[in-house]
């Protein structure tokens, strides 16, 4: 079963009014279970909007989306997916463990079970020693790892991530990318990952969806064929560079913007 089926959707903001914006048009995309797919494109191409449509944080103007064989709304109500944003979005009045417990709390889990799961998640992101800390006592990279642990807390089959590493420095970023891949290998989650960075998209993904703005649409889907398990060595791999070139060329066909440059930019 595919994780996500997107069938000819469009999204128009302020439809019918003077400042109508066509955010997305004619989007068709199918994401297989366990697949890692990145959405890349210049600002305004609608990649974050597409992610929010999958998450049912927005409703499409037209077309149909199926998530885990259900409507996006049902998938949201069932907490079928976990979500992470560029801002870690940790609740500063809750400890690290309590932050991870929040989605479970809302699901009505009892206290002991919640805490057990939170500790399991903290082991996964290697932050077990920080369970009792408050978010502001953690570095940016650690906060983002807590946010990912929280997104994974309900053991979702699907992860939706909106530039989760966008605010991190280069070294932390590469480290987090490798961690994310190793976590996904263990959990078998499918991932939809929005990013501005070409190397990040290529390193992480099975497929890179290249989008263009005005109106937002998919211009090309690049298959990344890197043999074997990805590791830091992958970043020197020919197949990695071929993937980068392919994505960059697909983006060149697209209107260039400040946000998308070559490999030298992250």
């Amino acid at each position: 079963m595919s994780a996500i089926e997107i069938d000819n959707i469009s999204k128009i903001f302020n439809a019918g009014s003077g400042n109508q914006v066509v955010a997305l048009t004619d989007i068709d995309l199918s994401i297989a279970s366990g697949e890692f797919v990145s959405l890349i494109g210049p600002s305004g191409c609608g990649k974050s909007t597409l992610l929010r449509l999958i998450a049912n944080l927005l409703e499409p103007t037209d077309g149909n989306i199926v998530v885990n064989g259900k409507s996006p709304k049902q998938a949201r109500l069932d907490q079928d997916y976990g979500m992470a944003f560029q801002q870690s979005g940790l609740f500063e009045w809750r400890t690290v463990a309590k932050n991870i417990e929040l989605p479970l709390e809302l699901k009505g889990w009892d206290k002991a079970k919640r805490h057990e799961r939170a500790m399991e998640m903290l082991e996964l992101v290697k932050l077990a020693d920080f369970a009792g800390h408050y978010p502001w006592q953690l570095s940016g990279g650690m906060q983002q790892r807590v946010a990912i642990a929280r997104a994974l807390a309900v053991h979702p089959s699907l992860l939706l991530m909106d530039e989760p590493f966008g605010a991190l420095d280069e070294m932390t970023r590469e480290h987090m990318q490798s961690e994310l891949l190793s976590i996904c290998r263990r959990t078998g989650s499918s991932v939809v990952f929005v990013t501005h960075s070409i190397p990040e998209a290529v390193y992480l993904s099975n497929r890179v969806v290249v989008m263009s703005p005005r109106p937002g649409r998919i211009t090309k889907i690049v298959n990344v064929s890197i043999e074997g398990e990805r590791s830091d060595a992958t970043r020197d791999n020919d197949a990695f560079f071929r993937g980068i070139t392919a994505v960059r060329e697909a983006l060149r066909g697209v209107e260039m913007s400040d946000h998308v440059r070559g490999i030298e930019d992250r």
């Binding site: 944080l57 949201r76 979500m83 944003f85 609740f91 009045w93 929040l102 809302l106 408050y134 502001w136």
Partner: protein, 263 residues
């Protein structure tokens, strides 16, 4: 612990020395220029009157302090309840906020005179209502801000967890508003004391600090009036310290919030 004590000492001695020097200078100026007591009383005389009349000052402080405290609690309670209601029903917010601002624009002490007419001459109720009103607006404005100005990421996250509006209120909006409440109380506590004093200038029982100050000045008992002023200062300080302590024991999230705002 010892480092905390030394920090305290370091923070305390400059204003303490300054205060002592200021009082000494005051005493000196009064003596040196032979200022008349009806013009300016020397600190030594004020202290003497303060100790002589301590029971009277204490009694008056209890009256004003009780009015301030009751008004502070009632105002904080109404402010919190109202901000919850307003944040829940946006229509009401649009309806009531302009009205609240308009009401707040009235010079508030005009209201005491009106309220005094409504109640018995010996009633403390008008003063308490006055304090309640002042505190109410401070708490309402701040807590409403805390309830509505939540991080959009937090709200999106909660919606992705299929949280209801009530759950978002309980888990996000209210915790987010806690530091705002303590900020409001920190402002409102001294304001409640000042309001309680000033309310006493508009008639009613002559039993509080404010009315004692006024009547002693009217009787040219300047030093005694100053002794009551000293009592008023101390009462204001007590309220300020209480609010500071309250803020200190509030959630660690409160501290984080403020450091985020780059205080």
């Amino acid at each position: 612990m010892s480092s905390r004590v030394s920090t305290l000492v370091r923070n305390v001695w400059p204003p303490a020395v300054f205060g002592v020097l200021f009082v000494a200078l005051w005493e000196f100026v009064v003596k040196f220029f032979d200022l008349k007591p009806y013009f300016l009383a020397p600190p030594s005389k004020i202290w003497q009157k303060f100790t002589e009349n301590f029971d009277l000052v204490w009694g008056a402080a209890k009256v004003s302090g009780t009015n301030a405290l009751i008004g502070l609690l009632a105002g904080a309670l109404f402010g919190m309840v109202m901000s919850l209601v307003l944040s829940r029903f946006r229509v009401l917010n649009d309806l009531i906020t302009p009205l609240a601002i308009a009401l707040n624009a009235i010079p508030i002490f005009v209201l005491v005179a009106v309220l005094n007419n409504m109640f018995a001459i010996t009633s403390e109720v008008p003063r308490r209502i006055m304090v309640t009103l002042v505190v109410y607006f401070i708490v309402l404005v701040n807590v409403a801000k805390g309830l509505t100005q939540v991080s959009p990421t937090h709200v999106e996250l909660m919606r992705s967890y299929a949280a209801s509006d009530t759950q978002i209120l309980k888990k996000v909006r209210i915790p987010n508003a806690v530091p705002y409440l303590f900020t409001a109380l920190k402002i409102a506590a001294p304001a409640s004391v000042i309001t309680a004093f000033v309310s006493e200038y508009f008639g009613g029982s002559q039993n509080g600090l404010g009315s004692r100050i006024a009547s002693n000045i009217a009787n040219s008992k300047n030093a005694v009036a100053w002794a009551y002023v000293l009592g008023a200062c101390l009462l204001g300080l007590v309220f300020y310290v209480i609010s500071s302590v309250l803020e200190g024991v509030s959630t660690p999230g409160g501290r984080a919030k403020r450091s985020q705002e780059g205080r």
